[in-house]
């Protein structure tokens, strides 16, 4: 009886120790971005379909707005399917201007399904600090405002892009 009791206590101790270790290991909550990590590390053919050869970012540059009345436009990034410039007023960044090919990131199209507004004749959406339009169902033009850059200013700068020219891009 004594033996069985001590054997039981050894087993219970071991079980509790194992539970404590498991609890300790899982105490760090999983990252809210873990799902994206799992999805993006799968083999390419098992990932959600995305165009691996979108329009080169350099093709977008000529449709960007020019410097204007105290504002400067400085190109910052040019990647496949993407180009970005920094909009500055008196040397201080006030917004990021971008054109992206949504075929490389099709989930970005979802938000346009409920769009009820238009800018320059193109469906427009607000998302966080972004004001965006979708040109020709494919190219997304975005003004991402830094704090203090008002929505009407963002819309004004969106219309300074050559949206009609971009619409002709294949």
């Amino acid at each position: 009886m004594t033996f069985r009791r001590s054997a039981l206590s050894v087993i219970l101790t071991a079980v509790f120790a194992a539970l404590a270790i498991t609890a300790g290991c899982s105490s760090k909550p999983p990252s809210r971005f873990e799902k994206a990590q799992q999805e993006s590390t799968k083999p390419k053919d098992q990932q959600a379909p995305a165009n691996q050869n979108p329009t080169a970012g350099g093709n977008f540059n000529k449709f960007f707005p020019k410097a204007d009345a105290g504002y400067t436009v400085t190109f910052a990034q040019e990647k496949k399917g993407f180009s970005q410039a920094s909009l500055k007023k008196d040397g201080k960044e006030v917004a990021l201007l971008s054109v992206s090919d949504t075929t490389a990131n099709p989930t970005s199209l979802d938000k346009y399904k409920t769009s009820t507004t238009k800018i320059g004749g193109h469906p427009s959406v607000q998302f966080g600090p972004n004001t965006s339009v979708l040109v020709n169902g494919r190219y997304q033009v975005t003004v991402a405002a830094k704090p203090g850059f008002a929505k009407p200013d963002a819309e004004k700068w969106l219309q300074k892009f050559d949206l009609a020219g971009l619409a002709t891009l294949k």
Binding site: F33, A36, G57, F82, L96, F127, G128, A144
Partner: protein, 294 residues
């Protein structure tokens, strides 16, 4: 392929320690430019300036995808920043061994297997300069030989990138090599054999434009030659001196030795400013891109 998710890499950036103290000590060189932004989600909140949770989620998810798509070059940039960092550590050790060789005669043979400290350091310095150019091209998506674009962009450098340049100039140039550090860099880029025997050059050579060692070192010389005027102006316009740097570092880190080249070697070995600010630059650029793509 990185074996760590980008959010873990950014979450693991330290809030304190030797590296952060060194960078704080260098604030006087580029006042107010650098904030120690750490943590992945925190970085997204700061750079997007929003609390919109759906937007933060979308941007973070997109950054994870961009980083894991190796064709974007972000992982290569991260690797290059790490290599630049190990250049400091390894050459730092060689420099210390050489100092012992100079002061203790029976160890004089060390001179035969260890480069002169200044020789090693000036190569380290030019390599770190060129790695910044390579990373700039990788991250911003321009061809790897775009020296002109890089030099043009230096004028626009701010934040963690400007701080990294300040640290290259201060900790890898001026402090260990003295006021003639740019001339020493000029001299270094003619010593092809020294580059060929340098393990860091061996690692990054395939990413440097050029068909053979001579043309790759030629490219390094060209790149360094284009950046040196910016560096010269940087030092002159800020009145930067070795004594000024050490004086500021002394406010944060206990330095008992007054020999400035020892201080440089010590900082080389005990900090990783290059990789730390490199991860910050990379993270910011990927967040900004994701802002335009979500």
């Amino acid at each position: 392929m990185s074996d760590k998710p980008i959010y873990e890499i950014v979450d693991e950036l330290p809030e304190g320690g030797m590296t952060v103290m060194l960078l704080k000590a260098l604030d006087f060189v580029v006042p107010g430019q650098w904030q120690n932004v750490v943590g992945f989600e925190n970085s997204i909140r700061i750079y997007t300036g929003t609390d919109d949770e759906a937007y933060i989620q979308a941007v973070g998810d997109r950054v994870v995808h961009l980083f894991n798509d190796t064709s974007n070059g972000y992982q290569r940039a991260l690797w290059l920043y790490g290599v630049a960092n190990s250049a400091g550590g390894m050459l730092g050790t060689a420099a210390m061994a050489n100092k012992i060789g100079e002061s203790v005669s029976f160890l004089g043979f060390l001179d035969k297997i260890t480069p002169k400290a200044d020789t090693a350091q000036s190569i380290d310095f030019t390599l770190k300069t060129v790695i910044e150019l390579l990373c700039f091209c990788q991250i911003n998506g321009i061809p790897g030989d775009s020296i002109g674009d890089f030099v043009g962009a230096l004028g626009e450098y701010g934040g963690d990138a400007l701080m990294r340049m300040a640290a290259i100039v201060s900790v890898d140039g001026l402090l260990p090599l003295g006021p003639d550090f740019l001339k020493m860099g000029d001299a270094a880029v003619s010593r092809i054999a020294d580059f060929e025997s340098n393990p860091i050059f061996g690692k990054i050579a395939s990413y440097i434009p050029g068909g053979d060692s001579a043309s790759k070192v030629g490219f390094i010389g060209q790149a360094f030659g284009s950046v040196r005027d910016w560096m010269d102006n940087f030092v002159q316009s800020r009145g930067l001196t070795r004594e000024g740097i050490v004086g500021s570092v002394r406010n944060y880190i206990d330095i008992t030795d007054d020999k400035l080249d020892y201080v440089g070697a010590f900082l080389d070995m005990t900090t990783n400013y290059y990789e730390h600010t490199g991860v910050q630059t990379l993270t910011r650029r990927m967040i900004e891109r994701a802002m335009g793509e979500v």
